[in-house]
């Protein structure tokens, strides 16, 4: 059972001489209940891959499946609903609407769908993210780590098929980063969530079950059950 699949995904930006091949035939499977880290040098296409997988962008060629659903043939409206109901996304920064409280931000996708999140599940997520006493605060009143945790809570609240996180700890100090990563790990272990996250940090990658290495828009290597040391070793080898 796969949470998501990329099959020969290509992404071209621009045209003619100045065209950039951001993804050059990427095929990866993401298993259910697994946390996968995506690593690679800057410009290797990590964000582009995440956007294509999360139905935020459409690949130039190839197919993307979320669960069994082929994303590449869907209309804008279908994609929107797919994102809302079956995908969670955490950006590096600016994840929250400043005019809504933490609680309202967490529930936003469900509210957009016209229903409320399951209260018990919501309580579980809120407790797990340690946000119980911050729920009525606006993003401006939260620390960067807290904001990212709210974003993750939002991504989890709808029980999506898969959560994508693009450098979720990129803007955080190591302490807050560890908090966020610990929580991601916890959601995989305890909630059975499937997660794909981009990171530059071998220590962060060590929280994952598997690391995929990208370079120049291709998958160049893979590592199971990583530790910070094995990841660092592989990175040196690339």
């Amino acid at each position: 059972m796969l949470a998501a699949r990329a099959i020969d995904v290509e992404k071209l930006y621009g045209r003619g001489d100045t065209a950039v091949r951001a993804l050059d035939g990427v095929s990866i499977d993401f298993a259910v209940g697994q946390c996968t880290a995506v690593m690679g040098p800057s410009g290797s296409g990590k964000s582009t891959l995440m956007h294509c997988l999360a139905a935020l962008d459409t690949p130039t060629a190839g197919r993307v499946l979320v669960g069994d659903t082929d994303v590449t043939t869907m209309s804008d409206k279908q994609l929107t609903i797919l994102r809302r109901d079956r995908i969670g996304f955490v950006f590096q920064a600016f994840n929250l609407l400043p005019q809504l409280t933490a609680a309202e931000n967490i529930e936003l996708p469900q509210r957009l769908a016209g229903h409320r999140a399951e209260p018990e599940w919501l309580a579980t997520v809120v407790t797990a993210t340690g946000l119980a006493d911050r729920l009525n605060h606006r993003p401006a009143e939260l620390s960067g780590g807290q904001q990212q945790r709210v974003a993750i809570a939002r991504a989890l609240a709808g029980k999506p098929d898969i959560v994508f996180a693009d450098e979720p700890t990129g803007n955080l100090d190591s302490q807050s980063g560890a908090e966020v990563l610990g929580f991601i790990r916890q959601s995989v272990d305890e909630l059975g969530q499937s997660v794909v996250m981009v990171t530059h940090d071998p220590n962060a990658a060590a929280y994952a079950d598997r690391v995929v290495f990208l370079a120049d828009g291709r998958v160049v290597d893979e590592l199971a059950d990583p530790t910070a040391e094995t990841v660092l070793d592989r990175m040196k080898g690339l």
């Binding site: 409206k77 929250l96 809504l100 936003l108």
Partner: protein, 878 residues
Amino acid sequence: MLRATLRGIAAHKLRLGLTAVAIILGSAFVAGTLVLTDTMRASFDAIFAQTTSGVDVGVRGTQAFTSAFGERGRVPVEVADLLAEVDGVAVVGPEVEGSAQLLDADGRPVGGQGPPALAFNTPVDEEVAGIELRDGRYPRQAGEIAVDAFTAERLDLALGDRVQVVAGGPVRSETVVGTIGFGELDNLGGSTITIFDNATALELFGAEGYTLVSLAAEEDVSAGVLLERVEAALAEAGYGLADPDPTAGATADPGAGADAAGGGENASGALEVLTGAELADASTAEVGQFLGFFTTALLIFAGVALLVGAFLIANTFSIIVAQRTRELALLRAVGASRRQVLVSVLSEAALVALAGSLLGLVLGTALASGLRALLDAFGIALPASDLVLAVRTVIVTLTVGVVVTLVAALAPALKSLRVPPVAALQAVAAPPPPRFGRGRYVAAGLVLVAGVASLAAGLFGDAGISAVAAGAAITLIGAALLAPLVTRPLVRALGAPVAGIAGVRGQLARENALRSPRRTAATASALMIGLALVSFVLIFGASISASAAAAIEESFLAEYVVSGPGQGDPSAAGLPQSAVDDLRQLDEVAVASPQRVAQLRYGTSTPFVVAGDPDTITEVLAIDVVSGSLDDFALGGVLVADDLAERDNLAAGDVIDVEFATTGTAELAVRAIIDGEGLDSDILLDSETLLANVPRAPITAISVRLAQGTEVAEARPALEGVLEPYPTARLLDRDEIREDIQSQVNQLLGLLSALLAMSVIIALFGIVNTLSLSVFERVRELGLLRAVGATRAQVRSMIRWEAVLIAVLGATFGLAIGVLFGWLVVTALAGQGITELGLPAGQLIASVILAALAGVVAAILPARRAARTEILRAIAAE
């Protein structure tokens, strides 16, 4: 710096374009008003030049003041003979002017609802009369008429056709024997014109003499010489001569002729002798006075539109400055002085203003020609003169546009000075504007109080109408300054149901509207102005209707009223005395009491007065005597309303001096002081005195009291039967009178609302503008919303609800101010018969709902833009 300014303009095309819309619409209204009235004036000039082109000298009676009835003394018939004897006179063209209403095939009056329905005698000489025959011949005997070519075409009249005409008496049946024109014109400014044969015209309209005797000089005699000879001849014959005053007699001395001995029977009125050119000037000046009111009225609406525009401009510039904080800070950081930054922002405003007002000028000219086409379609044919674009119009429009914009942009520009250079380095591009300090709210409150005070001083004191206008404007500005204070709680309250209806979209809309209460308040305030005035007009109209209804209920005793033609147009022919007599013949009728209206000079004003029949007036009108007695009213004299009596310290038994337009001063005995509530005028005159001074004063209405035991509905067929020969008469029962007043009020309300619509439209552009700028500011959030699953439709709906919130907020403000204005004005006018404060709840609620719908319309473009936000670009946006 100029380059930076131009770059700035290029970079902010959209927002400046929207600002320009405000300037364009405001200045277009100004330009359109000026062009239209200039063109109308030029048209009338052309008409009068045409109609007097063959006249060298004209002789006519005088008037003491310009009355709305156009009354003027007459020229005794024998003067025409006397003038024929004057050396150098080639042609004598005596003219009788009256009022005649043509009826269409269904017996309905044609024309006369605006432009008058005029009647003339057959001209002795076409050139002197300025009339020319187009087709057929002139009427030679009773039963024949000629009509103007335009009316003939409109009524589809051919020579030999029979047509019904009302000329002050029962309906007449006439045969059309000719059509006439005026030089190139088929028509004189939309009036319908009927030409009778001389004898009939004299019989109908000329009992007191000619209205004008036009003279053409022999070839070798100049107009000036002829004028002197005519004056000498008239003086020798004992006629009093008045100095002709082209401004229509404001200073003419009506007494000049009063003492003149001998001469004609009409010795009380002097004659004035003018050259043809002076005659044209005098007519032009009279029309100019009317056009002056027209211009002022339209310019008031233009002013309102500009005031709203100024709000919009100020708001746009303050948002632009806020959004450009970084850019301006960067300019400062790289060494631009404060002054350079200020100049940059202001010159941006000035350039946009100049471009906007130029476009406004073009649009305004188009607007004027559109309006003229509209008038044309309604049969108000203006001569085909070109649109008059005076230099004055160009200067006024451009100046107004640029000055208003600069004033509006000044505060935001000054704010830009306070941007510190370090702001360039700060992460957040647009810091929220500083909270409005308590001191500024106090100041805003004082502005509001000052506005209301000025309003009250104008309404209740002697400060006059300009204090009212200024007070209203200042009140609106004060309210707009105070608005941010109440915006938070109001938007919260209004937003609660919205969040209930539209869920999270509604909630987001509310939160977005709350983010910058000042911006929201400013946008709403622009709409507030339009809605304040609309709701004021509605309340005022409802109050008039309610007061009239109350007055009818309380003091009107008659069951029916027969109303004359040309309601509201005092120069219309009115009803003949025979209609009163015929009504009195009926068994069903106990009392038929005619009512006439005239204008006279009393003190410095020229009020309209109602004249009634002393024997019957108390049967149809419940008059509450405060002091004195009605018994003596039959001896002649006046009844004075208590308000006026108090003002001028009058008591029963006093004598007041008044002046009639043609017969000069008269002393009238005050017979009683009466309760003025529910009366149409403060002075009630007895009809005999009026007729002695204004022989042609029309009967405007006949109040009918039914005989005891006659059912109201039963009497109708008999009354209608008697009125058959008077097709211009309308029979109204009490309910119909109320409805009639109501419909007249509604007509006026419709017109005023249409004019105010302009300012509402400009305010809507304000909403478009603010929302577009907000959408621009919030790309990231919009992208995020789309990323987490908001559909495009949901994004659009969110923006729409925000627009609705702003619009309803503005409407709420407007309603509050409108009710205040309405209450103040109605209270002030309690003495003028407006005794009830009407609150037309349905209409007011409808206007709020319309405002909300307008908000939806205003949201279309910004919502579309918001929905098109590209997710990834928004996320990537710095």
